[in-house]
Amino acid sequence: MADIQHYSHDTGWKNTILRGLLYLVLTLFAIYYLFPLFVMISTSLKSLSEIREGSLISLPRVITFDAWTYAWNEACVGVECSGIKIYFWNSVKMAVPAVLISTFLGAINGYALTKWRFKGANIVFALLLFGCFIPFQVVLLPMSMVLGKLGLASSTSGLVLVHVVYGLCFTTLFFRNYYVSIPDELVKAATIDGAGFFTIFWRIILPISTPIIVVSVIWQFTQIWNDFLFGASFASGDNAPMTVALNNIVNTTTGVKQYNVDMATALLTGLPTLLVYVLAGKYFVRGLTAGSVKG
């Protein structure tokens, strides 16, 4: 990241006003985006009676985590009332393998497409790139037929397969663009040293791919964790991912609408991706730009 630049030669009142204006606009935008989050968090910490009495934006008088524990352990998804926790684990079981497999395959693809150029490599890459632009709705029917034939319908493994297939285009693109900037001589040197395709990949290429692996993991994790369409289409009942369960909790109302539970569930669903961003976000920007600068 570039350092903040100081234009010391132009420090007049004009500059101060402009800077003040800039901060004002930025603050307004920040409030605009953070306000819903504030409402969600504060609502999730209120009791149901307090929500009924108080206003939307008031802070909770008594902070209670009842809604959170209820959402985790007892909330009803359809007729099943055992909370969101099993669906959370469903999502983990789906996202972790799908992210790892698609990232790994993307790395191998990118490596082969740049360092072991074969005839038609460009066409293969162009087709893969094309995959990035296919809307998911288009493939729902053919995909469900394929999953049925493979015996993976309504299973977590099936969802993993779907996400790997549709993530490949993006991960391949990431790794291919990153590897293009790595000099070919590295591979030539290793070839003369006696290393083969996979030895070079494991020992030399993969260890210098950390920035782009982070990018790929964040991107894939966010996509897969937040996906609703595939989850709703290809997994049902107990195998549904968290996003589908969230929808079912919020949309199926029996009796009183429990806003605090809805908010807590939504926050729980969004938390993992938020965490990934907080932990690895700075590598994301760094990794995205790394390849382009060296070019």
């Binding site: 000099p183 001589e185 590295l186 030539k188 040197a189 290793a190 070839t191 003369i192 040293d193 006696g194 290393a195 030895t199 020992r203 030399i204 260890p207 210098i208």
Partner: protein
């Protein structure tokens, strides 16, 4: 160590021929430099020897072994790259031993080999550093260490000094030469720098457009270039080419150079038989800047190798050791190498001596040496 033979080696990408029937043979322990302008095919030729690219025809032999279809790792060669191509994730030690490790050399042998090479190249303090913590010159040494440690039949260098600054380049050049003298290994070295070629090589192969122009010792290439391209490429400043006519001047062959008022007639010394066919015809007269100097002592003697003529000086370029003096002859700018204390002023008319024992004549149509 081994000899290397390239027998009618060709390389084509589809219809584009980038190497045309290259024939080169060097003995065990020779230092071959492939030199030429960019795009002449020299790096491709090196890649063919290394096995990183397949040839389209001909035979490549190391010793008596034909290696056309042998995998690079089994050719027993080592290569130093222009970008050094050090593995960025490994320490210097790991970089040097990677090839040995892949080949299953035992730990003790590896440690010993690293120690030897590190001592030879004086990189012992660097062994546990990563390549990113090294300077350009140090990286260069490590890259050479990686090649040396394998004790290969042939070393291949692909423009190894191009990424260094001028001073370091000269130092490393000497170092490579020393190393070669010490180890006596067979080396193939690619460069576009003719000075590197002249200083390092035991034999030079000058290439252009995929065609081998001349393959000879540095001195022979310098003194007897095969054609105008080689003559102009090797040597700095470049050889002067003057359009002239070969004439019979009172029973002696001479070149006559047109000039407004009177032609310059330079009698040849020990003209070879091959010149006879060109009497009365146009030729390209080639003379190196050091063959054109201030008036030499003894140049007035009738059988002297020096011939004097007067000419007006256009520009002078002092370099310290010599002063490059630019004159205009036959419509072309000609550079003479003059001792600084004899240097003229621009505009002055000065007497020059041409050393006729060090000249070349070329056919203007074929550009080949006569």
């Amino acid at each position: 160590m081994a000899s290397l033979t390239l027998d009618k080696v060709r390389k084509a990408y589809g219809p584009v021929e980038v190497l045309k029937e290259i024939n080169i043979a060097i003995e065990d322990g020779e230092f071959l430099v492939l030199v030429g302008p960019s795009g002449c095919g020299k790096s491709t030729l090196l890649n063919l020897i290394a096995g990183l690219e397949g040839s389209s025809g001909g035979e490549i032999r190391i010793g008596d072994r034909v290696i056309n279809d042998v995998h690079p790792k089994d050719r027993n060669i080592a290569m130093v790259f222009q970008s050094y191509a050090l593995y960025p994730n490994m320490t210097v030690r790991k970089n040097i031993t990677f090839g040995l490790e892949i080949r299953g050399v035992s730990n003790e042998d590896r440690d010993k080999a690293v120690a030897d090479v590190a001592k030879l190249l004086q990189i012992e303090p660097l062994l546990d550093r990563k390549p990113s913590q090294l300077s350009g010159g140090q990286r260069q040494r490590v890259a050479m260490g990686r090649a040396l440690v394998r004790d290969p039949d042939i070393f291949l260098f692909d423009e190894p000094l191009s990424n260094l600054d001028a001073k370091l380049r000269v130092d490393m050049r000497t170092e490579i030469k020393k190393l070669h003298q010490r180890l006596g290994s067979t080396i193939v070295y690619v460069t576009h720098d003719q000075i590197e070629a002249m200083t390092l090589a035991s034999r030079i192969a000058v290439m252009k457009d995929g065609i081998l122009q001349q393959f000879d010792t540095p001195q022979n290439i310098y003194e007897r270039p095969n054609n105008i391209f080689v003559a102009g490429f090797i040597g700095s400043p470049s050889m002067n080419f003057i359009n002239a006519t070969l004439i019979n001047d009172n029973g002696r062959l001479a070149v006559s150079i047109k000039r407004d008022n009177d032609p310059i007639v330079l009698p040849l010394k020990d003209a070879p038989e091959s010149y006879q066919a060109y009497i009365g015809k146009d030729v390209v007269f080639g003379i190196r800047p050091e063959g054109l100097t201030h008036k030499r002592t003894g140049s007035d003697a009738p059988d002297s190798q020096y011939v004097n003529f007067d000419c007006k000086v256009e520009v002078i370029e002092p370099t310290g050791a010599d002063t490059m003096t630019v004159v205009e002859i036959g419509g072309k700018e000609i550079v003479a190498r003059v001792r600084p204390d004899r240097a003229p002023h621009p505009g002055e008319v000065m007497t020059f001596s041409a050393d006729m024992s060090q000249i070349s004549l070329f056919d203007p149509a074929t550009e080949l040496r006569i």
